[in-house]
Amino acid sequence: MTTVDARGYSCPEPVIMLRKAMMKKDAAYTVLVDNAASKENVTRYAEHEGYTVSAREANGEYTLTLKQ
């Protein structure tokens, strides 16, 4: 499982970071973001790439789990 820590970054950077990480074609990823727009953008991109996304929020930070 690869973790992409995109906390502190705003759109479109978290998606670019994830896209780069996805070149490894792992079956699962964890993405950390800290704003709702990034959560939506990462979710949309991951779903488009064929992953299912589950999100957990704590203290304004989101942990997104991506699975193929």
């Binding site: 502190g8 705003s10 479109p12 950077e13 998606v15 709702a36 949309r44 488009h48």
Partner: protein
Amino acid sequence: MTLKNEKRNMIFAGLVIGVIASLLVLFGNPKNMGFCVACFLRDTAGALGLHSAEAVQYIRPEIIGLVFGSFFMALAKKEFSPRGGSAPVTRFVLGMFVMIGSLMFLGCPFRMILRLAGGDLNALLGLAGFACGILVGVFFLNKGYSLKRSYALTKAEGGVFPVLTLAVLALLLAAPAFIHFTEAGAGPGAMHAPILISLIAGLAVGALAQRARLCMVGGIRDLVLFKETKLILGFAAILVGALVCNLILSGTTGTSYFHLGFADQPVAHTDGLWNFLGMMLTGFACVLLGGCPLRQLILSGEGSSDSAVTIFGLLAGAAFCHNFGLASSAKGPTANGKAAVIIGLVAALVIAGVNTFKKENAK
């Protein structure tokens, strides 16, 4: 929220925003300028005495409304999240150049759409330049461009910008002698909808734009970067909403709100090359900032200090534009303005290069 719902909300927000922008002209704003974040910040800078161009001085309530529409919506949705610290001085400088590019063209990306919706074909050259600027920005994004991360800040820090905005509203309402307002008939600054209508329009658009994450530069950027169409749907929906409303108003009021062509367009000039280059600078610098001027206002309402600093950069840029004779007029661009746009393009290239091709990966 599913993608389908997100897109539906974006189209709805865009259509409503387009209609509101068109109606603001009916209520008194300059033609094709229901909204223009660059022009309105420039007018506000003039009212505060940061420049002394008497034709463009007015505290635009739409700006205040946009910040508070976003602020209240962010609070309601628990998305108010003060943060900052991502290259603030660089953002200030980029904000200045966004303004210089916008005032070469005479409009921010938002007004560019509204100019198209009013039949101003000069905006097509602006749009072409804007798209080119975004493509250059995307090139650097793909190569690793980043202004590095921001950090969480205190609620107090996040509240400073909304309080400042409130103070500006107080200055508008109290209108003390040191605040400058364009005299009736003396220029676009004197053309405005009643304060309450402008304020409500700003609040509504600010709230809608916050929910939809509307961004004019993000539309073309995300389409190129990720083949993602959500943001560009908002861009298109504003155009359709404003165009249809302009045509309806033209048919029902006896005044023309749609005039197709290049010549004699309101608050515009016909120099295609500089319309192109002005918006190229704006598009490029906006990608480097992560969002258009409207989006910066919305983010500042959500607590972003980085976006608030960008707004200060836009205000300073507006002051320079008029103090140094950089802003275009209906007669066309100025020699100083052309030099400033070239300097801006070079500066943006340097900023992009330095923040892309660096050896260290400082956190």
